[in-house]
Amino acid sequence: MALYPDSRSAALPALSAAQRVHGWCSPEAIEQVASVMGVTPAELEAVTTFYDMLETKPVGRHSVYVCTNISCSLRGADALLAAVQEAADGNREFNVRAFECLGACDIAPMASVDGVYVGPLAIEDVPRLLDDVSAGRDVLPDKQLVKRPCADAEARG
């Protein structure tokens, strides 16, 4: 809170931190944040419901956001999402969600797995993706965005 001229600016970082501890923005989590920040729980609830990454219900601890926006859907994201949902069905470890454009259309269709971007994903990759997460392994190391070179061949020299 000391980072900001107005401590209220810490709302998003504080709620995100509380979510990491509690698993979601539960009423208890929100009350704790509110008492530290000196604002009312209602103010923070209003903030929580506005943002897609803040969970208002208990969810699985591993998030799998499948991008279903335009560029990914042109490359089969809807079928991918259905496959992930089916494979994770009944497994309470996972929080599988369709998500708006995640800013990685170059690896479409793609997903963000606990914040790690992977793609382009084929339906066949889904079991391995979930297995990697369940086993606590690095998820699909060969498909991680951060390991890809820039597409601009001239820039690569």
Binding site: Y51, R75, C101, G103, C105
Partner: protein, 421 residues
């Protein structure tokens, strides 16, 4: 081969670290800028003709000059909430060359006379925010950020602030509310952020790519930079290209080259045997263009003249394998989801549009519905606090106008089908 300013050495291993960045000449532009008076730095920015790379294309130097002078608390905010569908250029910059952004931001803060700055990065970019955090730590350690930078009178604090998932926070006033810890609702303009922005203070807001270009401008000199590109669209631009192309990705181009060269030459065009149906030249909010427009030069004014916009520089290609109704539906649902709900035309208009598209797809619509849908789009444009509603209305309106025949055929074929599931 076009000149690489932002993507120079982009895949150099370790470019995200201070030592490699400095070895490649990094932070020399900052040293040079600090030897000058802020007014002269501003003059270089103005001379460069650099236009904002976030979407609106407003002249960066002019934006800086709008800030009131004098010893009042002013803020610099970097908009790193890259959320426009199809756009992923800022992500690559922050991931691979974070110090270029920091250096540009520090120079801009010097020119603008701001002593507090923030980078608002979208919450989904976890890995990029981690990279930025590490880079900021190094920059602070080296004395590039903090009190009396490199022995000068200029001081700057910098906070990297992570969002939590909301498209509207890329809209500058929505971003400011979000940064103040509220729901990211856009504000009424005027007052513009340059007068009354963050915490009601004068605020300069710039996109990641815009700020990342500043070190190159200082190195070359504004006039030299302005020789690149066209007269009114100077310099190079990162283009994110995606959808139905063979080599999707980010490319640095000189503004003004034919769009065809980007779509076919760089990205390889659509898959074998398919034809381009339409393309978005500047993110999903841009009116669609058709194959007939492929020779339009890729710059701000030429694309505007062609009835669309350069926007964030994100080209999305749709080939003939995808029905236009499907594309329209995807977009309409997205904007409905992301509408903050504050203004009626946007909140209701995005919802109505989705419902009308659903009627079309379920065989309940008549061609008259297309006229109603087109008129809904017209009534959204210009009638809201921000342009989110317009961002749906412009592409959907253009699709109805340019692909009316396909919409009508879709309506007809669905009507003839037995009850659609």
């Amino acid at each position: 081969m076009s000149e690489k300013l932002l993507f120079k050495d982009i895949d150099e291993p370790g470019l995200n670290t201070l030592s490699v960045y400095e070895a490649r000449g990094g932070y020399a532009s900052l040293r040079k800028a600090l030897q000058m008076v802020p007014e002269d730095v501003l003059k270089e920015l103005e001379a460069s003709g650099l236009r904002g790379r976030g979407g609106a294309g407003f002249a960066m130097g002019k934006k800086v000059s709008f800030l009131p002078k004098g010893a009042i608390e002013k803020y610099l905010v970097c908009n790193a909430d890259e959320s426009e569908p199809g756009t992923f250029k800022d992500r690559e910059l922050m991931q691979k060359t974070p110090h270029m952004l920091l250096e540009g931001l520090i120079i801009a803060s010097y020119a603008a006379g701001t002593s507090r700055s923030f980078i608002y990065i979208r919450g989904e970019y976890v890995q990029q925010a981690d990279v930025l955090d590490a880079a900021l730590g190094e920059a602070r350690e080296a004395g590039y950020v903090g009190e009396q930078i490199l022995g000068s009178a200029h001081s700057l604090s910098l906070v990297i602030h992570r969002g939590a998932g909301a498209y509207i926070c890329g809209e500058e006033t929505g971003l400011l509310d979000s940064l103040e810890g509220k729901r990211g609702n856009p504000r009424l303009k005027p007052p513009f952020p340059a007068n009354q922005g963050l915490y009601q203070g004068p605020t300069l807001i710039n996109n990641v790519e815009t700020l990342s270009t500043v070190p190159a401008i200082m190195r070359m000199g504004g006039a030299e930079y302005a020789k690149l590109g066209t007269e009114t669209s100077t310099g190079t631009k990162l283009v994110s290209i995606s959808g139905h192309v063979q080599r999707p990705g980010n490319y640095e181009i000189e503004l003004g080259i034919p769009s065809r060269e980007i779509i076919y030459g760089l990205a390889g065009g659509p898959p074998e045997g398919r034809q381009i149906k339409c393309w978005f030249p500047g993110g999903s909010s841009a009116p669609v263009l058709t194959p007939e427009d492929l020779d339009v030069p890729y710059d701000f004014d030429s694309l505007a003249k062609a009835g669309s916009m350069l926007g964030s520089g994100a080209i999305i290609v749709v080939d003939d394998s995808t029905p236009i109704v499907e594309v329209a539906m995807k977009l309409a649902k997205f904007y409905r989801h992301e509408s903050c709900g504050k203004c009626t035309p946007c909140r209701e208009g995005t919802n109505w549009t989705v419902k009308m598209l659903e009627r079309i797809d379920s065989g309940q619509a008549t061609p008259m519905d297309l006229d109603i849908m087109a008129s809904v789009q017209e009534h959204i444009i210009g009638n809201c606090l921000c342009v989110l509603g317009d961002a749906m209305a412009m592409p959907i309106g253009s699709m109805i106008a340019k692909f009316r025949g396909e919409f009508e055929a879709h309506i007809e074929s669905r009507r003839l089908e037995p009850v659609h599931a």
